[in-house]
């Protein structure tokens, strides 16, 4: 976990409001698992003040490069999108991501992403495939204009898109696609997206093991401020911290408020 002025190698628009930033620096060598995130300072002044948590969507530890994919919606992410600077202040890698062990070999894995929850699944999928798993991606978006990385995911495995308005892929939610395509018999699932999606997926796939990646508003990003907590089912542990205990949790661990 370091703080580094990383080099911005690229910052390109992928879809409506969606950008991909490629970064290089020492920080990359410290990444342990897909699903970890970085905490990015978008301004050199005090407005905005706080860093922005963004998942690492892929990384290359030989070249010390990584990419993040983000939606430029608010003050900070818009600054990122418009930044003409060639370095950016990054704190990370943070959190604990998805464990990818040798035992995934030969298994059929279901990767489920919603909106800007899709990015971390890309590195995960690459690593699963590399370790011999077969992967199916079900990616949900608002509409066609915000869809990204369809091609990249397709190269790794079957990729099904759902859009809320039906403008691309199937109309509906990821759970509709999983249902329709009979994907509930995967060996395990990995999900990242908005809380209602996570809750629905956990219910639908209650019979198989799974991992979910949570989002929460953050202060420090390192576990000190207790801003980012989420409720867990274990009665002895009232809260867990998304930034250090997560963002990836085991299925069934969390209470979705």
């Amino acid at each position: 976990m370091i703080r580094e002025q990383m080099k911005v190698l690229g910052n390109k628009k992928l879809a409506h409001q969606i950008y991909e930033m490629t970064l290089s620096g020492e920080l990359v060598s410290l990444i342990r698992t897909p699903g970890q995130f970085v905490h990015i300072r978008t301004s050199s002044g005090n407005d905005p003040l706080l860093r922005r948590p963004i998942s690492i969507s892929s990384y290359n530890q030989e070249e010390n490069t990584m990419t993040v994919i983000y939606r430029a919606s608010g003050l900070g992410t818009k600054q990122m999108a418009e930044s003409p600077y060639d370095t950016i202040d990054v704190l990370g890698p943070l959190g604990s991501g998805y464990q990818v062990n040798e035992d995934v070999k030969g298994k059929s894995m279901l990767l489920i992403g919603g909106g800007i929850g899709v990015p971390p699944l890309y590195e995960l999928s690459k690593q699963l495939v590399e370790k011999g798993a077969s992967v199916t991606h079900v990616l949900g978006f608002e509409s066609a204009r915000v869809v990204f990385y369809e091609k990249e995911f397709s190269e790794l495995g079957q990729t099904l898109i759902a859009t809320a308005d039906g403008s691309h892929g199937c109309k509906g939610f990821v759970t509709n696609v999983i249902e329709q395509q009979g994907l509930i018999h995967a060996d395990a699932f990995y999900a990242c997206g908005p809380v209602p999606m996570l809750a629905a997926v956990e219910e639908q796939l209650a019979h198989i093991p799974g991992f979910v990646s949570m989002e929460q508003r953050m202060g420090c990003g390192v576990g000190a401020c207790l801003a980012c907590v989420c409720e867990v089912k274990d009665p002895d542990v009232p809260y867990k911290k998304v930034c250090t205990d997560g963002p990836v949790f085991r299925k069934g661990e969390l209470i979705y408020g």
Binding site: L49, G219, V222, G223, A224, C225, V229, P238, Y239, G257
Partner: protein, 313 residues
């Protein structure tokens, strides 16, 4: 060279820089970034008699040059702090300032009695100014009479000096400060957060689950500075100042306003190395200002030329 050393009731500080309560946990996380022994002290997270789960989420929201928080005093409780957190902190060469909170006077007394007996706790910080809990907290910090009584009661049981943490959400901060002085406080820490709010644009509802939260960060620095300036002229108690500090120059400002030490809160979230960097930068600023010791600058905002500074170690 001891240009930064400061001696305050109970606290022999190698430098006057410390993380503010609630912004550094019990130090574990930031110990990954640098050696905590470099700090003057650590103000640990508020401790209550029993574990507290804190408030529902979202607990933070961002504002212009500031942030709102309503953590709600989540903490593992007195027993765990004494058995686990404080012993862990013993590995560092540091006096600890234990921030204590509660819903009623009995809570404060109970925590004060026990925690002040811990080996490395050198002072207490009485948090009578937390705006984010339904009972207690800020209620103690906005009425002078209540603050005086609570201070006196805690003083009776504490084995270490007691600093009272003042709330800025009052008409007269000097009245509160004097009440604490009368109650027997050994020092003051100020300021806690200003009560504020952010609404979600779309729904119009408060972003923070607790509805209101405490405003911290650079946005509140002018208010904090003014309050330290006022209080330092009206009481003889030493002040540990906080509120928007994020650079060595901010520290100089608060010392100039009349504080004897400075705590850094929100800025740790922006830059985890901020306390370390401030400590490293201070000597060259003292050179620039021609000051031998940081406390030679104390109170220079209001002091007439030639008057002596104080609290130097």
């Amino acid at each position: 060279m001891d240009r930064l050393s400061v001696s305050l009731p109970g606290l022999s500080l190698k430098n006057p820089i410390m993380p503010a309560s609630g912004c550094f946990g019990f130090g574990r996380e930031y110990s990954q970034f640098y050696d905590l022994s470099e700090l003057g002290s650590i103000m640990i997270k508020a401790t209550t008699p029993h574990p507290r789960a804190g408030n529902p989420v979202p607990r933070v929201a961002e504002t212009s040059s500031g942030m709102l928080n309503a953590i709600g005093l989540q903490n593992p409780g007195l027993e765990k702090v004494i058995e686990t957190e404080l012993p862990w902190l013993e590995q560092f060469d540091l006096p600890i300032i234990a921030n204590i909170a509660g819903s009623e006077a009995e809570d404060y007394i109970k925590v004060a009695e026990k925690i002040s007996a811990a080996k490395n706790v050198a002072a207490l910080e009485l948090n009578i100014s937390c705006p984010n809990v339904k009972e207690g907290g800020i209620a103690f910090g906005t009425d002078p009479e209540t603050a005086r009584n609570l201070t006196a009661k805690v003083k009776e049981v504490s084995q270490v000096p007691v600093y009272v943490k003042l709330s800025p959400n009052v008409t007269s901060i000097t009245e509160m400060a004097k009440a604490c002085e009368e109650g027997g406080a050994d020092g003051l820490t100020m300021i806690n957060t200003l009560v504020g709010m952010r609404l979600d644009h779309k729904t119009g509802k408060p972003v923070i689950a607790n509805k209101t939260g405490g405003l911290s960060g650079p946005a509140i620095k002018p208010v904090a500075l003014r309050m330290v300036y006022e209080v330092s002229q009206q009481t003889t108690l030493p002040i540990i100042a906080m509120g928007g500090i994020s650079s060595a120059w901010d520290v100089i400002d608060f010392i100039s306003a009349g504080a004897s030490a400075a705590a850094v809160g929100t800025a740790n979230f922006v830059n985890p190395f901020v306390c370390q960097e401030i400590i490293q930068e201070l000597p060259s600023i003292l050179d620039e200002l021609g000051a031998d010791h940081i406390l030679d600058l104390r109170g220079r905002s209001w002091m007439r030329h030639g008057e002596a500074a104080g609290h130097r170690a």
